[in-house]
């Protein structure tokens, strides 16, 4: 039976993705901040057909716990076939732009901790010479904008880091996948007015599952964000810097 480790398993997007893996009777190791929340998810995944579901709490910013979690997951699951890193935070940009501590924290959550975890996990995959690691980055990491360049630059760092890893493993059986969702209707975006640009977590989850099954490289979800971001990236900086996006 196949196994998957999900870090940030209580995120809306990860929960929907896990349900699809559960239909394939995967065994799970779920990680997030709260054990109580994870317990609720365990029942849910069982209903969808999950095999064994193990879970553990971890604050990804406690870097010294990363190794321990990976070891425990390996211990419980025997082998890890798939990994999804899905946690993240979107702080109120205006409130934190002048708060060094908060900026550092945002960067740690959305970039540094993710980079450390992916290094660790990819080393494990290298050792067994297989495995699929998907990380949720964001379209926000494709170009810096005044409304969210802290979150955006952290996601951008993750995307570039993953690009490097993918290159390192390009000739092996280890798959490194960058997921770039557009606007998704989740708790993270509860403060935004919903319009037709928003997609459900369920739809994004299908895209993530497909990308992981097919071992894709970079996927924009839904696909049309690739066109949107291509156009946004084409705008000359001279013009872009005056725009309100």
């Amino acid at each position: 039976m196949k196994t998957i480790l999900i870090i940030g398993a209580a995120s809306a997007i990860a929960q929907e993705t896990a349900r699809i893996f559960a239909r394939d009777n995967f065994h799970f190791y779920l990680v997030d901040l709260s054990l109580e929340r994870l317990k609720i998810i365990v029942d849910d995944l069982k209903v969808f057909g999950a095999g064994e579901v193990y879970y553990n709490e971890m604050d990804a910013n406690h870097f010294d716990k990363h190794d321990q979690i990976l070891k425990d997951a390996l211990n419980k699951l025997g082998q890890i076939d798939y990994v999804l890193i899905a946690y993240g935070t979107l702080a109120n940009h205006e409130e934190i732009i002048n708060d060094p501590e908060q900026i550092a924290r945002e960067f740690s959550t959305n970039a540094t901790s993710v980079i450390l975890l992916t290094s660790l996990i990819s080393n494990y995959f290298e050792k067994i010479n297989k495995g699929t690691l998907a990380v949720i980055s964001s379209v926000a990491g494709d170009r810096g904008r005044k409304s969210n360049y802290i979150y955006g630059s952290a996601k951008g760092a993750v995307s570039i880091f993953l690009q490097g890893l993918r290159n390192r493993f390009g000739k092996s059986n280890v798959k490194i996948i960058t997921i770039k969702p557009g606007l998704v209707d989740t708790p993270m975006t509860a403060h935004l007015k919903k319009n037709f640009l928003f997609t459900s977590a369920e739809t994004i989850a299908k895209g993530i599952y497909n990308a992981m099954m097919k071992g894709k490289d970079v996927v924009y979800l839904p696909f049309y964000w690739k066109c949107i971001m291509t156009i946004i990236k084409l705008i000359p900086e001279r013009v872009f810097k005056r725009m309100n996006l």
Binding site: A12, D43, D44, V47, F48, H191, L192, F196
Partner: protein, 437 residues
């Protein structure tokens, strides 16, 4: 800060905004309601048309993310899940095991808690009654932090008050329902044109004996519409197996903006297209359940087509023996007022009793009509319709209502005072303040 525009109702009228929105996303993390400086009301998907899911200047508790399944007993056909799980998610889970919802309304994008709170009905009411008949148990969070298990035996009064209780008795956190066995995902459906109400009643009489699902679409804009034509729709589940031809791709066309497309001209046109796209008087086909039950779900946010001012659905139930002449009178007034309606639906209710104390359906015929909200003109016409409905002892459906007067409410729901004993002291809604005045 929460974006309050995400918290209107389906009709987008009235535009009542809450003071703030709390979230309850995990069943073990209870929001603190006791110390709030105003009243609260649970809010799910806002698919109620009027103000029964709104709480102007008070708090809403968004329970959409209370969306986890808890237990699916495939042998006994029962499902336990959290309050915000949608009918859509339930169907996707249970259909592969040949189960279906015992009752479903015309959209599947609503929560199970919302379905209970309005004790919703579907095309099978004449046989199966309302969803309340299939609720075995739920847990109810009260504002003092207590979580009460409610069923026919334990807290049974609160159980009955909460079914159809309009969200006023507390927050349902989990619910357990009985499912229904089906032979397959297809419906053996028949579509029969009728030229007038007498024909409708004749077809209806015959259909109710033989079909589990019945409903009629009425062309309320046809020039001689006082005695309207329409299409009678009836069907049964069938064991027919999936073939290439019958594969169903679910449409999801987004309607991006509030843009008023629905006016007298487009409405008449749409009605005429709908009526005439069926060439033969009778058509039989085997269709996917989505097509049969949820034709409107193909377009996301179709309510935006009524523009900024929104629309009103007027849904009433009247005694069957008065049906023909009351509906004719209603149609007459609509024509005199030069209002057109696209979604006009007729269906007879049966006499299966729901445990719900405040449930809307009762034996008779129900009529639902959509009108663009054009201000005073629309409201005045609806007042005229009320007087006809009142005369025959009919009543309105709170889930669709934004304007019925308190007298009519109290007349049709005389149990309202007894019911109010079960309302949680912290809970209220714009609807309740309006009708209990």
């Amino acid at each position: 800060m929460i974006e309050l525009n995400n918290y209107l109702s389906w009709g987008r009228y009235p535009k009542y905004y809450p003071k703030n929105v709390l979230h309850m996303s995990w069943r073990n993390e209870k929001p603190n309601l006791q110390n709030l400086d105003s009243t609260v009301l649970p809010y799910a998907f806002g698919k109620s048309y009027g103000d029964s899911c709104l709480n102007k200047d008070g708090y809403l508790v968004d329970i959409k993310r209370l969306n986890h399944f808890i237990e699916f007993d495939q042998i006994n056909g029962t499902l336990k899940c959290e309050a915000g799980v949608t009918l859509d998610k339930i169907l996707k889970l249970i259909i592969p095991y040949n189960y279906f919802l015992p009752v479903t309304p015309g959209t599947k994008h609503i929560s199970i808690a919302g379905a209970i709170a309005n004790d919703v009905h579907g095309k099978n009411h004449h046989i199966n009654g309302t969803i309340g008949c299939y609720v075995q148990e739920f847990e109810l969070l009260r504002s003092n932090g207590e979580v009460l298990t409610c069923n026919e035996k334990i807290n049974s009064d609160l159980f009955k008050a909460t079914i159809g209780g309009l969200g006023l008795t507390g927050i349902i956190t989990t619910a357990k329902i009985k499912l229904k066995n089906i032979p397959g995902i297809f419906i053996d459906a028949e579509f029969i044109k009728f030229d007038n109400l007498d024909e409708f009643f004749a077809i209806n009489y015959e259909s109710e004996q033989k079909f589990e699902y019945t409903v009629a679409w009425v062309d309320a804009s046809f020039p001689f519409g006082c005695n309207p034509r329409g299409i009678y729709i009836r069907g049964n589940h069938t064991a027919y197996k999936e073939t290439k031809k019958l594969q169903h791709k679910e449409l999801k066309i987004p309607f991006p903006f509030e843009l008023k497309l629905m006016n007298n001209f487009t409405t008449s046109l749409l009605n005429s297209i709908y009526y005439n796209k069926q060439i033969f008087r009778e058509e039989k086909k085997i269709i996917h359940y989505n097509k049969f039950f949820y034709p409107l779900d193909g377009i996301n946010n179709w309510n935006f087509a009524y523009g900024k001012n929104g629309f009103i659905q007027y849904q009433i139930v009247i005694p069957i023996e008065d049906g023909a002449f009351v509906i004719k009178d209603i149609m007459k007034i609509i024509h005199q007022s030069n209002k057109k309606s696209f979604m006009t639906v007729l269906k007879t209710f049966g006499d299966k009793k729901s445990p719900g104390l405040m449930s809307f359906p009762r034996k008779g015929i129900t009529l639902a009509i959509d009108f663009p909200m054009d201000g005073k003109e629309t409201l005045e016409m609806l007042n005229r319709l009320d007087s006809i409905v009142r005369e025959v002892g009919g009543g309105h459906y709170p889930a669709k209502d934004s304007r019925m007067n308190p007298m009519d409410f109290k007349r049709f729901y005389p149990q309202w005072e007894y019911f109010s004993k079960f309302i949680d002291e912290k809970f209220s809604s714009s609807f309740w303040r309006r009708v209990s005045k």
